[in-house]
Structures are given as structure tokens and as C-alpha cells.
Amino acid sequence: MSLLEVSNLHVWFDLPQGRQVHAVQGVSFGLDPGERFGLVGESGCGKTTTILALMGLLPPTASVSGEVLIDGRSILAGGEDLARGYRWKDIAMVFQGAMNALNPVKTVGWQIAEPMAFHGIAQGAAARHRAGELLEMVGIPAGAAGRYPHEFSGGMRQRASIAMALACQPKILLADEPTTALDVMVQAQILDLLTRLSSELGLALVLVTHDLPVVAQTCGRAAVMYAGEIVECGPMETLFHQPRHPYTRLLFAATPDLYGAEEVVSIPGAPPRLDRAMAGCPFRPRCDVVLDRCADEHPLLRLVGLGHEAACHHTEMVSAT
């Protein structure tokens, strides 16, 4: 049994005039303790919505279906009352803009101690002491606990929000673009910290990013999302060296590499709108290997190798011959 088991997760957002956006369309994946898993794709493909659903933090306009199990226990079934018991304690999250994730009028130490008090892990002096320890663990002197977020640099704020997420010793950490707004050197420091914490604490990490090299160097396995679905999933090395979905291949080709000499290409077009039903493969208008059946037959995720799945008619045809 996996630590985290997401099966057939769907998320819809209500729009005015009774319309709906189908933002996440049947996402399934599993996660083992201590594993580092990447969720990649362009903006609007459903990455962030997926992990907000896992945290139970979607707005009231959202409706969710599917199953999310942590250690075999369902966390979605009981609504907010049940989710509150898991949130931060079993599954925690680091947000993209650390400044917006921290409360500007409370000290950093107070914010780290708050979830501990809520979950009855530690109170008062014990919680403050633990907050200091957590700060030390992420590379901030414990004495800085009495300071406010605006007194911290961007990198320190992101470290503090990681300390806050780890306050209740969760088993799973979801990180949404944790390094996007940061400088390259600080980005490397934060990724180094996340990698170290995941190996030392056995923390399972879900890294959401559009930055493929970051995932390539941090995660062992990744899922590529497109138009609300996972279109390819597998070991990171396989995704780079033997991509079986054209979108994965093109995403890598669109990413410049420091030493790579090959031309960087762009992917024509844009992701489809998710407020209307689509026939066929959602990637078809941008794909470079379109078949006839792609127009009306929706490709499903199929096993194409060891722990490697892809949803592409072309791949299926090539491997059949």
C-alpha cells in the first residue's frame, strides 16, 4: 500500500451562467514514503488545482470527486470536518509566493507554532522551542523566530514557510512552484533543503513546477499534465530519454539546456479551454504526430514500459508494430 493514493480525481469549478470548468479530469497517482515526485506542465493544466484538492483547500465554487487515501484512509469523504484533521498533520503544503503565504502581522515563530497548538502537538513554551528547532532545521537561526516576515529576504521567507509546513511532522509535503520567484542561487539552496529534508525525514515530496530541469534534478518520478489530465507518468530518466507522449518530448525540446547545442523549439498553439467537452485527444491541435483516430477517440493512459504510462494513440501504434 502506498503512502498516498490518488484515484480518479476530478475537480470542476462553477462559473456564472451555470457553466463549469473541468479543471482536473481523472488524475491518479501514488506516492511512497520518502519519494520525490514531480507534477509538471504549462500553466492552466491543473497541477495546482490537483494539490489544492489534496489539501482540501479549494474554494467553495469547486466540486471534487474521486478518492484520496493517506495510509489507506480516505481524506476526501468526510468534507471539511475530516480534512481539517489531516491538513498540516499528515499532508502539508508550501506555496509559491512565500510572502503571501505568511501572515504579515504575526511573528514567524508564532506562525510555526500555530498548527502545533491546533493539532495538540505542543503548546506555549514547548511550541516556541519546537519552532526554533524547525527554523534551525531549515537553516535560519532560532533567534529569528521573533521576527516578522517582512524582515526576511525572499529565500528566508520560503525557508520559514517550509518550517511552518513541517511543524506537525507531516508525511507528505506538497510544494507548489516553491522556487519560481527566487534567484538561481537561492533556488538551488531551497531545492537542496527540500531534497535533504525528504531523505532525512522520510518525507514524501510532490514538487509542482513548469520548470523541467528542476524536476529532473530533484525528483525520481514525475507526471506530465495537460488539459487537466496526466498524459505521461514514469521515472524521470525515462521521461527525458524515452518520452512516449509528444507533449513530454516537445516540453523538453522547448527548455534550453546550458550546454545543449540543439535548437530550442516552441510548441505551437495553446492549451485548450476546459469549459467545454472535447472530442479526441486534447493535445491534437498542437501535436506533430497526429493520426486519424486522434480526432474522435480520447487516448487513455496505458502502460508502455516499467512503471511508465502514456496516453497517446501514436505511441500505441508504434509499439504495436
Partner: protein, 349 residues
């Protein structure tokens, strides 16, 4: 900094003196005052300055792309703003087609802006949401009095949009920014610069807000524009991989100075300065099998109010010796350099 309009700067393309580089920046220094509160002013606390740009020199030829790279706060954007005349320098020269334009008053700067255009980072912010594409591209022409009639301007708008890769232009002219994708918006911003026929394009992180899938398209557009031979592009970026792929030369900035400058591929493959080496080491590789050995520098870029004495990189430098704390290294050609134009500012190379 002359008080009259430099005639040579407004010459048409064909009349330019040969051999004069498009842009020459010489020993540019730009400082910002640190705001003092009332009590600090009354009690006559000393005034502090942010040494945003502190002695930057480089040249840029027509048809060339130079990438200015470095962490936030290193002075790359201030350098561009000083070139544009948005900020007045403390000292130094900015020569456009041979004429010094540094610190010119706004009235004299305005006609020069035709030659000097800026592309901003965020096309979601830089376009007026109430303007259709046509109005956005037309506005700079109205400011500069280009095009005698509506019909003539319309022709120029269509040509600029097509050149920026929005083809057929008729499909875009009547749209509002919210009807366009990020990449298309950035192309509209580029078209609005192109209608003026600029010599120099300053592009401040032109693709960092865009999706990975469209970045290459916008960068290839810029690449094509300068390869036409007439335009020089100064690209400001924190992304070394992009700089290595698209720029001819890379200048690495640290705390208001250029610490390394040379041909792009040469800088990436044979970095000289310890700061450049560290920056390159933390760029993650696309191939998971290529395990990088990140050389993490502690802390973040120091505050440019208190510039360290000696080499300004010494407090974070893994190789720093005693003399680095005392001596300020100049940007020179290192002894063992295999490129005649690859310079570094380090006492140890």
C-alpha cells in the same frame, strides 16, 4: 553630458558613421538615495546611497545580442533604465551612435526614444487592458508623429504585427489583451516597439513570465530581429541557459559591476570568475543522468548600500585570500584566456 540635442544620435540609418558602435556604455555609475525618515533627517543622520550601478562599461554593435545576467539586485535593470534615461547617472557616458545621451533632460531624450525601445518582463502589466491591439501599436506612432494618415499608420501597424509573428495581422488588430495568450501579448509589445524602427532594443526578462512552450518562439523572434543586422539587443535575464542559447556575449553582473564578460558559449564552457562558476554550477541540467555538483554560495546578494571593500565578491567567495579583501580587481583579460575577448574581474585568475 552635453546640453544640446546630439545631432548625430538622430541620424537616419544610412547616414551613420562607420565604425561607431551602436551603444557604448563607459564607466557608468548610478546611485539611488536611501530614504530617510523625518527623525533621521532632523537628527542629521548620514545619507546613504544604493550603489546600484558602480562602474559598468560595455559596447553593443548592430546585429548583436548581449545578455546581462545576474541575481536580483545586481544592477542589471538599473543599467537598462540609465541607458533609457529613466534614471540619471552620477557619472559615466552612454553613447548611442557616438553621441552621449547620459542624463539628457526629458525634452531632449524624447526624440531619441524612437531609437531606444524597451520590452518589459510582464506583458500582462505592460499592455493597457482597454486598448485594442491596433491602438497599442498605434500609440507610439502618435507620440512620435509617425504616419501622416490613419491609412498609412494602419499599414505600418500591420507590417509591425506581421514582423512580430502575429500573422495574419488582421486577425489580431481588433482584439483586447485579455483575448491574447501571454506569448501573443509579448509579441504585441514587441510590435509596438518595432513600429518606431528602433536601433536598440532593451529586453528586461522578456520571457520569464511566459509559459515554457512559447518562450522559444519569442526568443527566436528577437534573435531574428537582430540578425536582420540593423538592431542591437541588450537582454536582461537571470536565466543562463537562455543567455547561452540566444546571446552572442554574456556579461555577468555582481553588486553593480560586470565581473565577467565574453562570448556566450565561452563564458558558459570556460568560466573564469568564481561567481560565474558558482552561478553556472546551480543551473539544473535537463537530463536527469547529468548530476550537477551545485556549488552553493551562502546567503544572498549583499545589500548594495554597504559594498564590501576590496573585491566585492570576497565575503561569499570560496577562494578569497587576504589581498581580495584589500584590492578591487579590474575587468581584464586573464593570463591563460583562450579567447581574446573574455574578461574577468578577479585577482586569482
Amino acid at each position: 553630458m552635453s546640453g544640446t540635442v546630439p545631432e548625430s544620435a538622430v541620424l537616419a540609418a544610412g547616414e551613420r558613421a562607420a565604425g561607431v558602435p551602436l551603444l557604448e556604455v563607459e564607466d557608468l555609475v548610478t546611485h539611488y538615495p536611501v530614504r530617510r525618515g523625518l527623525t533621521e533627517r532632523v537628527t542629521r543622520q548620514p545619507k546613504f546611497w544604493v550603489h546600484a550601478v558602480d562602474g559598468v562599461s560595455f559596447t553593443l554593435a548592430r546585429g548583436e545580442m548581449l545578455a546581462l545576467v545576474g541575481e536580483s539586485g545586481c544592477g542589471k535593470t538599473t543599467t537598462a533604465q540609465t541607458i533609457l534615461g529613466m534614471v540619471a547617472p552620477v557619472s559615466g557616458a552612454v553613447r548611442l551612435n557616438g553621441a552621449d545621451i547620459a542624463g539628457l533632460p526629458e525634452r531632449q531624450m524624447r526624440p531619441l526614444r524612437r531609437q531606444l525601445q524597451m520590452i518589459y518582463q510582464d506583458p500582462y502589466e505592460s499592455l493597457d487592458p482597454r486598448f485594442r491591439v491596433e491602438a497599442t501599436v498605434e500609440e507610439p506612432m502618435l507620440v512620435h508623429g509617425i504616419g501622416k494618415s490613419q491609412a498609412e499608420r494602419r499599414e505600418l501597424i500591420v507590417a509591425a504585427l506581421e514582423r512580430a509573428g502575429l500573422s495574419p495581422a488582421e486577425a489580431y488588430v481588433d482584439r483586447y489583451p485579455h483575448e491574447l495568450s501571454g506569448g501573443q501579448r509579448q509579441r504585441v509589445a514587441i510590435a509596438a516597439s518595432l513600429v518606431l524602427g528602433p536601433d536598440l532594443l532593451l529586453a528586461d526578462e522578456p520571457v520569464s513570465m511566459l509559459d515554457v512552450s512559447v518562450r522559444a518562439g519569442v526568443l527566436s523572434l528577437l534573435d531574428g530581429l537582430r540578425r536582420d543586422g540593423r538592431m542591437g539587443i541588450l537582454m536582461i535575464t537571470h536565466d543562463l541557459s537562455t543567455a547561452a542559447h540566444f546571446a552572442d556575449r554574456i556579461a555577468v553582473m555582481y553588486l553593480g559591476r560586470i565581473v565577467e564578460h565574453g562570448p556566450a558559449r565561452h563564458v558558459v564552457r570556460h568560466p573564469q570568475h568564481p561567481y560565474t562558476k558558482a552561478l553556472l554550477s546551480v543551473v539544473p541540467a535537463r537530463d536527469p543522468r547529468v548530476r550537477s555538483a551545485p556549488q552553493l554560495l551562502s546567503g544572498e546578494t549583499p545589500n548594495p548600500v554597504y559594498v564590501p571593500p576590496g573585491c566585492r565578491f570576497h565575503p561569499r567567495c570560496p577562494l578569497a585570500e587576504d589581498r581580495c579583501r584589500a584590492e578591487d580587481p579590474a575587468l581584464v583579460l586573464p593570463a591563460g584566456s583562450t579567447s581574446p575577448s573574455h574578461q574577468a574581474a578577479c585577482l586569482l585568475v
